[in-house]
């Protein structure tokens, strides 16, 4: 089953993204606590893309597609046309570094990495594609 959502790049759209993902997972009877984590991971990536890649520009948009492969995997694919993200240049901070620096950011991608089984970022032509993969046991 494949589901699609297209939204403009404003932070006020984040609740709609969460509801969209939560509804699909509930429809497939995905366990509630685990579903909450997947909703969180998608929210984190979308928030990063809206804020950092698209500067909260409402004229830009994000497309989210969810591919639900029963008993195999769930693939969340988020496409945008903003500034691409290079995962190779990302260095995960430690919690103590974050506390010492009094930074409020930096935890989002850490959460996504722990929740998902695989994260891919790639840029092709004018689009950036982020793919989050969760395997089902």
């Amino acid at each position: 089953m494949k589901y699609n959502l297209k939204i403009s790049c404003t932070k006020s759209n984040l609740p709609d993204i969460r509801v969209f993902v939560a509804d699909i997972l509930e429809k497939h009877s995905y366990p509630e606590i685990e579903a909450h984590k997947l909703v969180l991971a998608v929210d984190e990536v979308c928030a990063n893309l809206i804020i950092h890649a698209n500067n909260c520009n409402p004229d830009e948009s994000l497309s989210l597609s969810i591919l639900y492969n029963k008993n195999k995997s769930i693939i969340f694919e988020i496409t945008d046309k903003g500034i691409g993200f290079d995962m190779n240049k990302y260095k995960e901070p430690t919690l103590h570094e974050l506390v010492d620096s009094k930074r409020k950011g930096g935890l989002g991608l850490m959460l996504v990495k722990r929740i998902m089984d695989k994260i891919e970022f790639k840029s092709e032509k004018n689009s950036n594609i982020c793919r989050l993969i969760k395997l089902m046991n």
């Binding site: 609740p15 509630e32 909450h36 928030a47 930074r103 409020k104 950011g105 935890l107 722990r114």
Partner: protein, 113 residues
């Protein structure tokens, strides 16, 4: 989306957060916590009616830990539902922050010290 109230008691102030804390609304939690710290009293954040928290909200709590410590103030979070607690647990923040099941236990934690 988010509603925050601050009740001041003799030795503690209680911030009650209702709704969702995400990248859009975390700014309100940030300013409420900054104002509370200025009052120089220990803080309980009642999260019993918090439905959702993302890294933006977690980051707000983390960003004040040094300041709280420097001012010898204590911060206790209370009443987290299971889903919200799991979010703190994923990165081990439940070990870095003081989290109690309910307001009574949060108050007891502050009175013990």
């Amino acid at each position: 989306m988010i509603e925050i109230s601050n009740t001041e008691e003799e030795n503690v102030q209680i911030l009650k957060v209702i709704g969702d804390v995400d990248a859009s609304s975390s700014i309100h939690l940030d300013s409420a916590l900054a104002e509370a710290i200025e009052k120089n009293k220990n803080i309980i954040v009642d999260l019993g009616q918090l439905n959702y928290i993302s890294s933006a909200g977690l980051g707000v709590f983390m960003s004040y830990l040094k300041e709280l410590d420097a001012n010898s103030l204590k911060l206790v979070l209370s009443g987290l539902n299971e889903k919200v607690f799991h979010v703190f647990e994923i990165l081990g923040l439940d070990q870095l922050l003081t989290i109690k099941e309910d307001l009574d236990k949060a108050r007891a934690e502050l009175n013990e010290v």
